[in-house]
């Protein structure tokens, strides 16, 4: 189902078959009917090209600066739907301080992280979520540090909505709609294998939906346990990756609080 009203004339330059196309389609589907009151903010990296393929106002901003830019938009126009998009380099390397504080502020914008566990647009260097031992031309001996777990980080930082999906049209559309229904900061990580630099073949088959289980998304401890099931480091025959909404709660919203 194509949502033509949001299309631009720019021809996408993502690699053929890139999972970003799935994300783009899912987001556009979810935004149907919201075109008039929505702005998008993107960072720098492959994900950032999404700005060019969705005809919505906003800004394709600097690397790592998506959260404060979204915050500024929401502060100035609280009634606007604001969707921010980052890559894992954007969110977890360059801008990680902003990410933690975004969870603390709980401004009512939705933040999507296209996580392919690699700096793809700069041709394949490791990010903070690449597995230990990741090799590329800049790390011929392999990296020495384990990855961070962004879901745990967001839960610990007080995010009021924490979700993870796979880069699949239906999952992205569903989670976007859920996030838009949530009042407050929504953190959505999208596992998005990079066909060229981090293919993660068979990753999707290792995932399962929390919504299919008896997961209590209002329970922070339960959410933490679920978050620990996948450490972003080792993927083997036993790996099980939970997807869906880990945690959701109600918290005061920044742009409303500062006006009180």
């Amino acid at each position: 189902m194509k949502n033509k009203s949001l299309s631009t004339s720019t021809i996408p330059t993502w690699c053929p078959g890139c999972y970003n196309f799935q994300i783009l389609a899912g987001v556009k589907n979810a935004l149907k009917g919201k075109e008039k009151n929505t702005a998008i903010v993107t960072g720098i990296g492959c994900h950032g090209k999404l700005f060019d393929y969705i005809a919505l106002p906003g800004i394709n901003t600097l690397h790592g600066r998506v959260p404060p830019t979204c915050l500024g938009l929401k502060i100035a126009k609280p009634e606007l739907n604001v969707l921010g998009f980052s890559g894992d380099g954007d969110a977890y390397a360059e801008g990680i301080a902003h990410l933690i504080h975004a969870a603390r502020y709980n401004s009512n914008f939705k933040y999507f992280v296209h996580n392919n566990r690699v700096f793809a647009l700069t041709v394949g260097q490791p990010t903070p979520v690449s597995e230990k031992g990741f090799k590329d031309k800049t790390n011929p001996k392999g990296t020495k540090t384990p990855p961070i777990n962004p879901i745990k980080l967001m839960l610990a930082s007080g995010a009021s909505f924490v979700a993870r999906v796979f880069a699949d049209v239906k999952q992205v559309e569903w989670v976007t709609k859920e996030a838009l229904k949530h009042k407050g900061f929504a953190f959505i990580e999208i596992l998005q294998p990079c066909l060229i630099f981090h293919p993660d073949k068979g990753l999707k088959e290792k995932t399962y939906m929390l919504e299919d289980e008896e997961h209590d998304k209002t329970n922070l401890e339960e959410a933490m346990k679920k978050a620990e099931e996948f450490d972003y480091n080792s993927i083997n025959e036993n790996t099980k990756i939970p997807l869906g909404i880990f945690y959701q709660t109600k918290k005061p919203v920044f742009e409303e609080e500062i006006r009180k």
């Binding site: 631009t8 004339s9 720019t10 702005a39 903010v41 720098i44 090209k49 700005f51 060019d52 005809a55 919505l56 106002p57 906003g58 800004i59 394709n60 901003t61 600097l62 600066r65 959260p67 404060p68 830019t69 979204c70 915050l71 500024g72 938009l73 929401k74 502060i75 100035a76 126009k77 606007l80 301080a97 902003h98 504080h101 500062i258 006006r259």
Partner: protein, 494 residues
């Protein structure tokens, strides 16, 4: 007549209380007052002092020799006694600060009713008035400060000027991260926000501050961000973004000595070239330098005007001396009306096409760059409608002092009685056309930095070189004293 009073003591014991109220009393008496603050980067103890100067004619700076020393501890006496003039008076005591306020008011011959009236409007007044009376009665009258014809005077520091200017321009959001000496503007605006519509928002760092500022500004809102040296460095990536994306953002840059952490609570003019050149790539900006609290109000408004008219960043450059010194202001600021046509559309940090999408098309890149470049001519033309520089003193003199920003006060006081003109540059970018006025003149540069940055800019813009020997530069973190500066200038007159 003119007098200097130095009030010194450990931080937290009240030199600021005494100084400020004394200033208010003298203004009430019809005098012009100026006071500067010298304080260390600590909260309690240490050694702070203020110098308050007052006169029956306008003054804007301090002299180095003092008439009265008010010392709140022994250290203050040791440090400042030698600055006392031959017949100077020492007022000392470990008593409460209101006691010493009473003592100095009595010494000057200010009636006690003035103190009573003033303190009544403040907190804890009963005890303060009692203490002040004790001090008043324990000292002898040494001067007779007669009441002058009352003028309408506002007692403002540069930070209040910046804040008032922003609010008068329709400020909606002020983003900041605390950093001396920019913080007083944040404080002032936060206090004013209790009665006004604007919001002040403190974020996790200056990078968040500038980017949140950009997020708000692209909706057409009137937004200002404020910081000092290192914080401005962190903002320069965002500044560059405002340049390509056409974001109307106003920056307040309060200078302190650098590089690095420098000297946090002292003054300098070392960031002029930073303001003019910060940010990668080529883009237009307006850089404005007020020299007193009235100009601060006017130039902040003009910064908003240029930012919203041309969708460019503006930088208001001030420093600790202007930001934290109090001036008696008798003029009313003139404000410019700001109509913003900025609206939420497709902004981009990349070169963009007609749809607002990123492009690598060589033709569009070149067009975009030429469009940004050609704005300079429009900005220059528009700027000519404003007072880009001021000329004080003798227009026909062959001697001209050139300065910018907070040195204005000391220069104005220093050139009194000299055969000299003074050009104060308010617009650093675009730069005013002053070649015709300064060519063939004996130019004397006065700046609070070690390299004479305005001199370099002047050379770049006009081709006119100021001789090394004619550069009067102070770079010890302290402002110029008018009397010392006068001697420096006199030695260079032709």
């Amino acid at each position: 007549m003119r007098m200097e009073i130095l009030i010194a003591g450990p931080a937290g014991t009240g030199p600021n209380f005494i100084t400020h109220i004394l200033g208010e009393l003298l203004i009430k008496k019809g005098y012009y007052v100026f006071y500067s603050r010298d304080y260390q980067s600590l909260i309690r103890g240490g050694h702070n002092f203020n110098i308050l100067s007052f006169s029956d004619e306008p003054i804007y700076s301090n002299n180095s020799k003092i008439d009265i020393l008010v010392a709140l501890d022994e250290k203050s006496i040791q440090k400042h006694e030698k600055k006392l003039k031959e017949k100077g008076i020492l007022i000392k005591g470990k008593e409460k600060n209101s006691y010493l306020l009473g003592a100095v008011a009595k010494t000057l011959g200010i009636e006690f009713s003035y103190i009573e009236e003033n303190l009544k409007q403040k907190e804890n007044f009963e005890e303060n008035i009692k203490e002040a009376k004790k001090g008043y009665d324990s000292f002898e009258k040494k001067f007779e400060i007669r009441a002058l014809k009352n003028k309408k005077i506002e007692f403002l520091n540069g930070s209040k000027g910046i804040a008032f200017g922003a609010v008068n321009s329709g400020l909606e959001f002020y983003y900041a991260y605390p950093m001396t000496p920019a913080t007083p503007v944040l404080t002032e605006l936060a206090q004013m926000s209790l009665e006004n519509k604007h919001l002040t928002i403190e974020l996790e760092n200056e990078i968040a501050v500038v980017n949140a500022g950009i997020g708000s500004a692209i909706t057409g809102a009137k937004v200002m961000v404020g910081t000092s040296g290192g914080g401005f460095d962190l903002m320069s990536e965002g500044l560059s973004l405002t340049g390509i994306a056409k974001v109307p953002l106003v920056f307040y840059l309060a200078q302190r000595p650098g590089p690095g952490t420098g000297v946090a609570t002292y003054t300098a003019q070392g960031d002029l070239k930073l303001a003019l050149n910060a940010g990668h790539g080529e883009f237009q900006r307006v850089v404005l330098a007020p020299g007193d609290p009235i100009e601060a109000q006017e130039l902040v408004a003009q910064g908003f005007y240029f930012s919203h008219k041309f969708k460019i960043p503006s930088i208001i450059i001030s420093d600790k001396h202007l930001g934290e010194s109090f001036y008696s202001c008798s003029e009313k600021p003139k404000f410019i009306k700001i109509n913003s046509k900025v609206k939420l559309e497709r902004y981009n940090s990349y070169e963009k096409d007609s749809e607002g999408s990123a492009t690598e098309d060589s033709r569009i890149i070149k067009e975009n760059i030429l469009r940004r470049k050609s704005k300079l001519k429009e900005i220059e033309k528009e700027a000519e409608k404003f007072e880009m520089f001021k000329f004080f003193g003798n227009k026909n003199s062959k001697n001209i002092v050139i300065g910018w920003g907070s040195t204005k006060g000391a220069i104005l006081d220093a050139i009194k009685g000299l055969d000299i003109g003074f050009i104060q540059i308010l617009y650093l970018s675009p730069f005013p056309k002053i070649e015709e006025i300064i060519k063939d003149k004996n130019l004397i540069l006065v700046e609070n930095n070690s390299t004479g940055q305005l001199g370099d800019v002047l050379r770049e813009k006009t081709g006119i070189l100021i001789e090394e020997g004619n550069k009067i530069l102070r770079f010890d973190g302290r402002p110029f004293f008018a009397d010392e500066l006068k001697k420096e200038i006199e030695g260079r007159l032709r």
